[in-house]
């Protein structure tokens, strides 16, 4: 199913949280809403699900205006950050809850619970109490419960924020798999740029209740529309070249040992990667490389070097978008 948001404004009392927000999501897309805490990501998600009333603007699902339509009739389901599993029910009953509400036959409920538990790799956990489960297992139950509601649009509100790195990656893969298998349209709220770049078809980077840029992971990383977007996805060198400024990621700068116009200022070795700060006639730049490349270069602070820009075309800001 498709989702279209037109000039959405949401305010809490006097505080405006979303400002004239527009967003288009095609059927079957996996979208990430990325941004710092408090930028309005969760508010946008709740507005889509109907848990918050929009001030002005439109939310259209499959072209149908959703303003005034109750949450349970929108076909959207949120997996909340704090999961909100019902503590008085077992894992199986939690998953069966949306089906019980819809009056699905008990036999079918049982089959679906069993199938969904299999999908989230928790086969045999039907009778397990929520309080007896680990954080990762609870995440899986929350996902299975959301899928049991048969959503047309799955909304994930930072559901992996409480997990360690390994589990986060595992859960991310699982969500991506479920998205494909169940042919869902999915919106993931996250503040983890790696997560967004890895799993999304498109990323909407938000700040201050507005979408700064909405594009594919490759484009948003390679062609940021302004410094804020560029720096959200990693460090950036701003190199003056005549009258214009070139933006270059530290990994796109290559150090040439034979050069003479620049000098190594500092080296930070971090195992797999290394950071080298170089003084150039145009100012200080940061280069990043693998640890083995650094060893192969054999450079030390104070050594004269040259700098080569590997990739810059896509890094220059579009004309007129931002003055630096």
């Amino acid at each position: 199913m498709s989702l279209r948001i037109e000039n959405l404004n949401v305010a809490f009392g006097e505080t405006k949280v979303l400002h004239d927000l527009c967003l288009d999501i095609a059927d079957g897309e996996f979208i990430s809403l990325l941004g710092a805490s408090g930028c309005g990501k969760s508010t946008l998600l709740k507005s889509i699900a109907g848990l918050l009333e929009a001030g002005t603007g439109k939310v259209l699902i499959d072209g149908k205006e959703m303003n005034g339509i109750q949450p349970q009739k929108r076909g959207t389901v949120i997996v909340f950050q704090d999961l909100r599993l019902f503590p008085h029910m077992t894992a199986g009953k939690n998953i069966a809850f949306p089906m019980r509400i819809r009056g699905v036959q008990k036999e079918r409920q049982k089959e679906t619970v069993s199938r969904l538990l299999g999908q989230v790799q928790l086969t045999g956990y039907e009778d397990r109490k929520i309080r007896e489960m680990s954080g990762g297992q609870m995440q899986r139950v929350a996902l299975a419960r959301a899928l049991a509601a048969d959503p047309r649009l799955l909304l994930l509100d930072e559901p992996f924020s409480g997990l360690d790195e390994r589990l986060r990656a595992e859960m991310g893969e699982l969500v991506r798999k479920l998205h494909r298998e169940n042919r869902l349209t999915t919106v993931l709220v996250t503040h983890d740029k790696q997560e967004a770049l890895k799993f999304s078809d498109r990323i909407a980077l938000m700040s201050g209740g507005r979408i700064l840029q909405y594009d594919t992971p490759r484009n948003i990383f390679r062609h940021p529309i302004n410094r804020e977007v560029a720096e959200y996805f990693g460090r950036m060198n701003y190199i003056r070249d005549g009258g214009k400024e070139i933006w270059v990621r530290p990994f796109d700068l290559r150090i040439i040992p034979s050069g003479e116009d620049c000098r190594v200022k500092d080296i930070v070795f971090m195992g797999e990667t290394a950071e080298v700060t170089v003084d150039t006639p145009g100012g200080e730049v940061l280069c990043m490389m693998t640890g083995s490349d650094l060893e192969a270069l054999g450079i030390a602070p104070g050594d004269p070097v040259g700098i080569e820009i590997g990739r810059k075309t896509g890094m220059a800001p579009a004309e007129g978008r931002e003055k630096m």
Partner: protein, 289 residues
Amino acid sequence: MQRKLTPYILLVPQIVLTIFFLIGLITGITQSLGVIPAFGLREPTLFYYKEILTKPDMVNSVLYSLRIALFSALFSTAAGVLLCALLVNGCRTKGKMMRIVQLPIIVPHVVVALFAINICSQNGLLARLAYAFGLIGEQQQFPALIYDAGGFGIILAYLWKEIPFIIYFVIALMANIDGKLGEAAVNLGAGKVQTFLRVTLPLCASTISSGFLIIFVFALGAYELPFILGATTPKALPVQAYIQYTHPDLRNRPYAMALNGLIIVISLVCAGLYFILMTRSQKKLAGKK
């Protein structure tokens, strides 16, 4: 050394109060067993307990008190939970509305009794209004809402006081559950009624039951309302106990203590249930084993 002693020093007021309470309790139980040496009663006996559980006027008092306590607690809890749900649903769990709801809680029971007499008696406000509108021809035709053998007036007064108590006791938890788990249920397709019945109510059940027990025990042991608004017969347990305690024949005092003993036993059972319910509720909500 001083640090080690600090917790014990801080506990001293509680310990002193507990000692006084226990002395009173033990004295009362001893007297209820017919041991008051000053009055020449020296042999322990269960005679007074047998008497209060078999003598018709005493049995009537016990049943009357239990009925008042049960109905007061039951109706207060039901109405309180219903109003609580409406307030939570209307997002009116804070501010002016809650202050209005809490107002009856701070009004003393004696004042509530006076309200009840002024409003509900056969020459009260309601009776006068009924007469003014031609609904009754004389005051005797107005139903006896107070001083009645069914304890209707007493229950009515308890409802006025205890419905707000239940709201006050339950609303914070209910609002919290409704705000988070209720939102999750709505998000999964449940309507407001389904959310209340399947999620909010089961999770509040232990707290609601605890509120019910508090009102039940209070109504069972409270003296003012049955004394002021109660019928001549039957008399509520605390009123009967007071009459026996102030009886000119001091040897009637074990009856008073046996009646108090009965209230204590019922209260202790309720306190035990309360403890179990609160522990269960905390575990359920905290998600602990």
